[in-house]
């Protein structure tokens, strides 16, 4: 049975993506794979994507985001990895500087305050990390829907 894709990263083990100063936490089960940035094929990219990643014998679009979640069409040098996310019935790649697993205790997680909520935002909650940083809790499906809305696809 597939994991519930709509749920943001909750307590337990989460995948933590570092994208410059931004931290995004996703449910570990929504990570289908991680590849090196060098393995992203750059040619013939879809609009606002940076290339393709091969997963499950197919090519999937790869997107690169800034810390404010704008889409970038040029990959910054520090984006060393591509995380393959399982969303809807397919996959997509998101470039990141680093990906790691973290344990999230119940007290670290909180809902996004009502005053900070916007429709169609992929940020569904906040996680206070042990190093004093704050991660945005999201989901693969939430990120996929956000990218889809930005690209008009």
């Amino acid at each position: 049975m597939s994991p519930p894709l709509l749920q943001p990263a909750g307590t337990g083990t989460a995948a933590l993506l570092r994208i410059s100063r931004l931290r995004i936490a996703l449910p570990q089960g929504e990570i289908a794979g991680i590849t090196a940035a060098a393995e992203v094929e750059g040619g013939d990219a879809q609009p606002f994507s940076v290339g393709w990643v091969t997963h499950a014998n197919q090519r999937w679009p790869v997107y690169c985001v800034s810390p404010d979640l704008s889409l970038l069409i040029v990959i910054p040098a520090e984006r060393n990895a591509c995380v393959v996310l399982a969303a809807n019935s397919g996959f997509l790649g998101i470039m990141c500087d680093e990906a790691a697993s973290v344990e999230v205790a119940p007290g670290q997680r909180q809902a996004l305050p009502p005053a900070m909520r916007l429709p169609e935002s992929p940020v569904l909650g906040l996680i206070a990390l042990e190093d004093g940083e704050v991660a945005c809790a999201s989901s693969a499906q939430g990120l996929a829907a956000y990218v889809s809305r930005l690209t008009g696809s």
């Binding site: 100063r21 931004l22 810390p67 404010d68 979640l69 007290g107 909180q110 996004l112 305050p113 009502p114 005053a115 900070m116 909520r117 916007l118 429709p119 935002s121 992929p122 940020v123 906040l126 206070a128 004093g132 940083e133 704050v134 945005c136 956000y146």
Partner: protein, 158 residues
């Protein structure tokens, strides 16, 4: 000294400075902490007036920029107060943070000072429950439950 004279001589409100021409008040028990040059964490895809959180006592508090919420230029976040409030009767205490342009000023306000809200900016009517006159200015009294409630309709206009 009787209680009446005691209460009449003590400040019962803080006047908060959100920038030029933008001042409002809260009760003296509302403010819990003032921080100079707070460490804020920016959160993407959030409204322009509430883009960051402040870590306080194991909580991540929304940081409200009232100047931006009222249609003005965003404040440089060099001064912040933590506020505790009850959004509605019987609800637990909630917490939030407000950016300020200068330190809060304690004042004494009474019913006899009640006046109308300033006409500009129009957003005061969304955030204030009353208003009092102080040294020639109308000072709206904030309803923090409204201030920290869900995104306000104006935010959707882009």
């Amino acid at each position: 000294m009787d209680n009446k004279s005691l209460s009449a001589s003590r400040p019962n409100a803080w006047v908060l400075d959100f920038g030029p021409g933008l001042r409002a008040a809260v009760g003296t028990r509302v403010l819990l902490q003032i921080t100079d040059h707070p460490a804020l964490h920016n959160i993407p895809c959030t409204p322009a007036h509430c883009r960051s959180v402040f870590s306080w006592q194991s909580r991540l508090l929304p940081v409200m920029d009232m100047a931006a919420a009222l249609g003005g230029a965003p404040l440089v976040p060099h001064l912040l107060v933590v506020a505790g409030y009850v959004a509605q009767p019987g609800a637990p205490t909630s917490f939030g943070a407000l950016l300020l342009a200068s330190p809060p000023v304690a004042v004494i306000a009474g019913d006899e000072q009640a006046c109308s809200l300033p006409e500009h900016p129009a957003g005061w009517s969304e955030f204030a429950i009353s208003c009092f006159g102080h040294r020639g200015d109308a000072i709206p009294v904030l309803h923090l439950g409204r201030v920290f409630s869900a995104v306000h309709p104006a935010d959707y206009s882009g």
